[in-house]
Symmetry: C2
Subunit: 406 residues, 2 copies
C-alpha cells in the first residue's frame, strides 16, 4: 500500500525535528530586498549525508571541500552558506578560506569543523571577505524557526524564497523532509548558481540516502533550465539526522518508497521554483515527452525543449510555433517517427501525426499566456516519459546580464 | 612547398568555371530587401558531390531527398533552393513536393531529376506552394554572373549575402572554389536554417571530396553558434565539376593540400559571416582555446564558450566578466587545471594562472566594444587548439523571436 505524503504548512528546512537555522547580514552581497547573506544550518544529532555537485571542470573550492565531507561513511552536523561571493577562481586561497569558514561555523555551534559543510554563491574571481566572516559567523543565532532566515540568506537576486516540507507516517512515527533552494540571480555581473539543501529527521541508511537523492536529482534539478549555463558551485545536499526514530530506512518496503517519494516531491518543488524564478522570466514552461523509446530519451528531449531559446521566445511571444517544439525535441537526436508525433499546449492538441491540425489559434495564444505553460509531446513510439521545466526568455534577461558593465 | 591561395575579387558560387546560377521572386517569402526566393545552380558538366546534413531527428524531406542523391557514386548537375518555406513537418506531401521541385528544375535545365538536389529554408509546418513553383521555376535564367542572384534568393532575414571565392595554381591549371551561405533569419515566427553551397571546377576524387568537406565542416560550420538551436534543414554541399581539368585530386600531394585549404577558407568565411549576421547581433565573438589536451577538447570547449548566453550577454554589455568564460569552458567537462589557465581579450591578458591580474579595465571594456571580440583561453595542459565563433545576445534577438505573434 502506498503511504500518502502530506504537505507541511509553511514548511522549511527546519521543519524536520532536530534541525535549527539562522542568518545574518555581513555586507557581502549588495543589499537588496534581503539583508541576509550568511546562513547557518545545524543538526542536534549527527546526520547521514548525501550530495550531488556541479560537473563543471571548474568548481569552487567550497564544492571540493564539501564533496570530501559527504559520503556513506561521513556524518555531518552543520552547513554554512553565503551569498554574494562564489569563492571560485581565486587560486589556492579559496580552499584555505572555505576551510576557515567551516572552522568558524563549527566553533560557533560547538561541533567539529570536519562535520561542517560549506557552500557559496555569488561573484566569481573575488576572494571571500574573511574579515566579515570572522566578525559575523559568531553572531548567527540558530533556532527551530530559523529555516526562513536561512532561505533568505542564500538568495542572490532570486525574487522569492524557495522552501517546502512534506511529511508521512512511517508506521506510527512522523517523518518530515524539508528543503530550500536558490536559483539564478545576479548581485553583480556574474553567473548564476544553484544551491539546494534538504533535511529530514528520518533514520536512513547512508548509501540508500545517496541513491534516493541521486534518483531525485536526475528527475528534478537536472531537468531544469534557465539559460543553459552550468554553474561552478551547483550543490544539492540531503541530511538525515534520524531524530524521528523508527527502524533504519534502507529500501525494499513501503516506508522506503514513501521516503523516496517525499524527497522527490521536495526536490521537484524546489527545482520548479528555480525555473519559475529564472532571470527575467514571466512564465514557467513545463515540457512533457511521453511515448519515447526510453525514459532517458524522454528526459533528454524534454530538457532540450525546455532549454531551447526559440521555444522560450515563442512562449514569451505567445506564438503557437510548434515547428520550434519539433526542432527542439529532434535536436536531442533521439529515435522518433515524425509521422506519429502529437503536440498539446495546456491540453489543446495542435499537432496530430506530425502535422498541424485546425486548432483554434486564439485559444492556444491564450494558453501560452498562462503563468504555467504545459507543452506535451507524445512521440508514440514507446512508453518512456520524462518531464523538464524552463522559463521564457525575455528582454529583461539580456538587460540583466549585459547592462551591469563593471 | 605550400601552394598559395588567392582571393577572387567579388567571388561567388559561379566563379569556378562551368557553373551558372540565377534567381526569381515567386512570392513565397515576405518581400523584404531581397525580392528573390527561388535560386537555381547549374553545372555544365556532371559534378562529384559531397554533403553534410542536419543531425536533428526531425529533418525536412528536402534533406532526406538530397542526402539520397549525394555520395561517392553519385553525380549531380543542379540545385534548386527556395527561401520562405522549409518544407518540414508537413507529412508525406513534403517528399512528393521536394521531388516535384527537382523535376521542375531539371526540366528547366535539360538535366535529369535524379541529378538535381533541393534545399528549402523558411517556416516549418507549411506546405510548399507548388503552384508558385510550377509557375516560376521555368522562368529562372541561369548565367555565369548569376551567383549573386542565387545568394540573394536563399536569404531569409539575413542582413547581407555571404559569398566568397578563392583560387590557386594547380600546376598550370587555375582551380577555383566558390561558396555561398545563409544563416539565421525569420520571415515569420520560425526557427532559422543554415544552408551553404560550395562549388569548384577542380577535378576531385568523390571520396576525397567528401573527406575534405567533412573535415572543413568540423572546423567551421560545426563551430558556430547563434542561439544553440539546430535546424531541421541544415545542409552544406560541395560540387566539383572538373572543368578546370588537370589530374584528379585525391590526396597526398601539394595540390590536394591546397584544395583542402581552399575549401577550408571558403567554409570558414561563410561560417564566420553567419555568426556575424546572427539575429540581433552587434558583434562577432571569436573564441580560441589553446593548450588543451586534444584538438577535440579545444573545439568542444571553444564552442561551449561561444554558445554561452552569459558570455554572449557579457560581450554585449562590454563586461570583462572572465568568470563566465571559465564557467563556459568548464561546462564542456574537458580535463583542465584551473591554476594554469590564462585568458586574453583581444590580446590583453586578464587572467594569469586562473586568477585575475591587474589589467586596465577601461582598455578591456573598449576591446569588448570592438566589432570583433577575440577571447583566447590558454589552458596550458597540452597542445590542442580549437576555435569557434558566435555573436552577442541582445534584446533584439528576443524581440525578433517573440514579437511576431501569429
Amino acid at each position: 500500500m502506498t503511504i500518502p505524503i502530506d504537505s507541511v504548512p509553511n514548511g522549511t528546512i527546519t521543519s524536520p525535528r532536530g534541525f535549527s537555522a539562522g542568518g545574518v547580514f555581513a555586507g557581502i552581497k549588495t543589499p537588496g530586498a534581503e539583508r541576509l547573506d550568511i546562513g547557518l544550518l545545524f543538526s542536534e544529532q549527527p546526520c547521514a549525508v548525501a550530495g550531488t555537485f556541479s560537473q563543471n571542470s571548474v568548481v569552487s573550492p567550497t564544492v571540493t571541500l564539501t564533496r570530501q565531507r559527504v559520503g556513506p561513511d561521513k556524518r555531518v552536523r552543520a552547513v554554512v552558506a553565503n551569498s554574494g561571493c562564489a569563492n571560485t577562481a581565486v587560486g589556492a586561497q579559496g580552499l584555505i578560506d572555505a576551510r576557515a569558514m567551516t572552522e568558524l561555523a563549527a566553533a560557533r555551534l560547538g561541533v567539529k569543523a570536519d562535520e561542517t559543510l560549506v557552500c557559496s554563491t555569488g561573484v566569481i574571481g573575488v576572494e571571500i571577505p574573511m574579515a566579515l566572516m570572522r566578525e559575523f559567523i559568531p553572531r548567527i543565532k540558530v533556532t527551530e524557526s530559523g529555516g526562513n532566515e536561512y532561505a533568505r540568506a542564500i538568495l542572490t537576486t532570486d525574487k522569492r524564497t524557495k522552501e517546502i516540507a512534506v511529511s508521512f507516517d512511517a508506521g506510527g512515527t512522523t517523518v518530515t523532509v524539508g528543503g530550500v533552494s536558490k536559483g539564478s540571480g545576479m548581485i553583480h555581473p556574474n553567473m548564476a548558481t544553484m544551491l539546494a539543501f534538504t533535511t529530514t529527521d528520518a533514520n536512513v541508511d547512508p548509501a540508500f540516502l545517496q541513491q534516493i537523492l541521486s534518483d531525485a536529482v536526475k528527475l528534478t534539478f537536472n531537468q531544469i533550465d534557465v539559460d543553459g549555463d552550468q554553474s561552478t558551485n551547483d550543490t544539492v545536499l540531503l541530511m538525515a539526522n534520524g531524530v524521528a526514530g523508527g527502524p533504519v530506512i534502507s529500501g525494499g518496503d513501503a516506508v522506503s518508497e514513501a521516503f523516496a517519494d517525499a524527497v522527490l516531491q521536495v526536490c521537484r518543488h524546489l527545482a520548479i521554483e528555480i525555473a519559475r524564478d529564472g532571470e527575467g522570466a514571466t512564465r514557467l514552461i513545463e515540457v512533457t515527452v511521453e511515448g519515447a523509446r526510453s525514459e532517458d530519451d524522454a528526459l533528454r528531449s524534454s530538457r532540450e525543449c525546455a532549454a531551447s531559446l526559440l521555444v522560450k521566445t515563442a512562449v514569451y511571444g505567445r506564438d503557437p510555433n510548434w515547428g520550434r517544439i519539433l526542432m527542439a525535441i529532434g535536436k536531442s537526436q533521439i529515435p522518433l517517427d515524425e509521422s506519429k508525433i502529437d503536440v498539446y499546449v495546456n491540453d489543446i492538441q495542435i499537432v496530430f501525426e506530425g502535422k498541424a491540425i485546425a486548432y483554434n489559434v486564439q485559444s492556444v495564444v491564450s494558453a501560452l499566456g498562462s503563468a504555467e505553460v504545459r507543452l506535451r509531446v507524445a512521440l508514440n513510439v514507446g512508453d518512456g516519459t520524462g518531464r523538464a521545466w524552463g522559463c521564457d526568455l525575455t528582454e529583461e534577461y539580456v538587460v540583466f546580464n549585459s547592462a551591469y558593465t563593471t
